[in-house]
């Protein structure tokens, strides 16, 4: 095994590509399976669930998703142009395109952060204790609403010290309490009848109306009396019994009103201090999968942005074209994942 003997072999790489590129492609192979697992799990859970919230039920905005798609496509072309410039040893041009890619990637994250904030503002979190999502309007939901009402009442000053704003708060809390009392009385007095559940469901609908069950028209509670029913009338048994149908209608059917983007306005929207528990059938599973899939994708975007930042400290001439190509391949993969996430999350 002398060196002379060793050097007698004519080594050939296993694949006719640089080692860095081979490693990157092997890494992307594992990434394909990783995201296939995540997206596959989402599809299985989404279509296997008895109920699943529509896009508007959970305050997703389709055009924001489309904008983010366009942003990622634009960043894909700029990174390709950066690679072409780097191959031609035009470091300044490559750097310019790299900076544009960095800005576009940051813009994508900004839009995503804005979307996350919209969920958090509506008390939609992936897990307890922050999440206020209840799957059904049952006695547990009623207990949670009552606990919140009691907390709000405790925060109010004494009657003689109340301001006009405090009085308004007291009126709103009292109107919710009246509806809750009515529902709980019905449940207690007629446990075998659906009346109590219907009353509780209507209260939940008043707090957090879902676009998918509002006759596909957003309804503002302020347009109706405080204790009125904003959902379908109780004498519509056919529609009332349409179990799980909302999980199988496309969000496009709800987009008749362009003013609110299809989102319905409830008490929690009207009074941001109220923060009452909300009822979204399938909402917890949706929140878990949505934040998991988009969160992992966002982490990949952040890693890409860090890679761009590191590249910007280097000379992006022809000698660096291999590294630029590898980072570009990674970035295209991030774009690729979003191409599938956009329709599945926003339009299905």
């Amino acid at each position: 095994m002398s060196d002379d003997h060793h050097q007698g072999f004519d080594y050939q790489p296993a694949l006719p590509i640089p080692n860095g590129k081979l490693c990157l492609w092997l890494f992307l192979s594992t990434e394909i399976m990783f995201f296939a697992g995540l997206i596959g799990a989402y599809i299985v859970l989404r279509f296997g669930a008895v109920n699943w919230p529509s896009t508007h039920d959970v305050h997703l905005v389709e055009y924001l998703g489309a904008i983010n798609t366009a942003v990622l496509i634009a960043s894909s072309i700029t990174i390709v142009l950066a690679l072409e410039a780097s191959k031609k040893n035009n470091a300044a041009t490559a750097r310019m395109y790299m900076i544009i890619t960095l800005v576009l990637g940051t813009m994508f994250l900004g839009v995503k952060a804005f979307e996350y904030k919209a969920k958090f503002d509506h008390l939609i979190y992936p897990a307890m204790p922050r999440s206020h999502i209840y799957e059904k309007a049952d006695v547990n939901y009623a207990a949670a609403v009552r606990a919140r009402i009691n907390a709000l009442v405790a925060e109010l000053p004494k009657a003689e010290d109340r301001t006009e704003l405090d009085n308004e708060k007291a009126d709103v809390v009292e109107s919710v309490r009246v509806d809750l009392d009515k529902a709980e009385l019905l449940i207690r007095n007629k446990p075998d009848s659906p009346d109590g559940r219907i009353a509780l469901w209507e209260l939940a609908d008043r707090i957090y109306p879902r676009a998918s069950v509002q006759g596909h028209h957003p309804v503002a509670p302020s347009m109706a009396p405080p204790s009125s029913n904003s959902g379908p009338a109780p004498h519509e048994p056919a529609k009332a019994a349409s179990t799980s149908q909302s999980g199988f209608t496309l969000v496009s059917a709800e987009s008749n009103d362009g003013h609110s983007g299809g989102h319905a306005v409830g008490l929690n929207d009207q009074y941001s201090w109220l923060r009452l528990p909300i009822m979204i059938p399938g909402g917890n599973l949706w929140a878990s999968t949505y934040f998991l899939v988009t969160g992992f994708h966002a982490i990949h975007v952040i890693v890409g942005l860090i890679a761009f930042s590191i590249l910007l400290t280097m000379n992006l001439g022809a000698a660096s074209s291999g590294v630029v190509e590898n980072v570009g391949l990674y970035w295209h993969f991030v774009d690729l994942v979003w191409i599938f996430l956009f329709p599945i999350l926003y339009l299905f």
Partner: protein, 158 residues
């Protein structure tokens, strides 16, 4: 090792000669991708001509997504110009991914089959009314009047 480096470099240079299209090709692909994104969004607009058939819309969106993915893979990721090694790395991963998703599909049927009655009731858009309701009409105003009394804050204890 020097020889290996020499081979790598020459391969890289050889590849570079054949890799990638022109800038106009890339821009055309980017425009096509934006157009295809609009095609996905089309299903969401009133201009969609095929009604509210969910299956057609989903099929269309998946076809559009697959087309977009192929464009990105072939042109932006340069696989169109790569040698046959691309099959070694991409095909097994793709097959494994599809098998992974397909193997999860039986769960879909099982979840439907085993949904409890209570779960189905509460999953309704609105709690289902029973036929007996007409026979059990009750006056809801009476308890409401009682509840408005300031002395009775919590009439029901669970």
């Amino acid at each position: 090792m020097t020889d290996t480096h020499a081979i790598d470099t020459s391969n890289s240079a050889h590849d570079d000669e054949h890799h990638g299209g022109s800038i106009s090709t890339y821009i055309a692909v980017a425009i096509a991708l934006v157009f295809l994104t609009a095609c996905s969004y089309w299903t969401y607009t009133p201009f969609w001509p095929f009604g509210d058939n969910v299956a057609i819309k989903r099929l269309w969106m998946m076809a559009v997504s697959c087309t977009k993915a192929m464009l990105v893979i072939m042109f932006f990721m340069h696989l169109k110009w790569e040698a046959n090694w691309k099959w070694v790395l991409t095909v097994p991963a793709s097959i494994m991914s599809m098998l992974l998703v397909l193997s999860l599909i039986p769960d879909v049927g099982r979840r439907f089959q085993h949904a409890s009655h209570e779960r189905m009731i509460y999953a309704a858009e609105r709690p289902a009314l029973e036929d007996t309701r007409q026979d059990e009409e009750m006056d809801l105003e009476e308890p409401l009047i009682q509840l408005h009394s300031p002395d009775e804050k919590t009439p029901v204890n669970h």
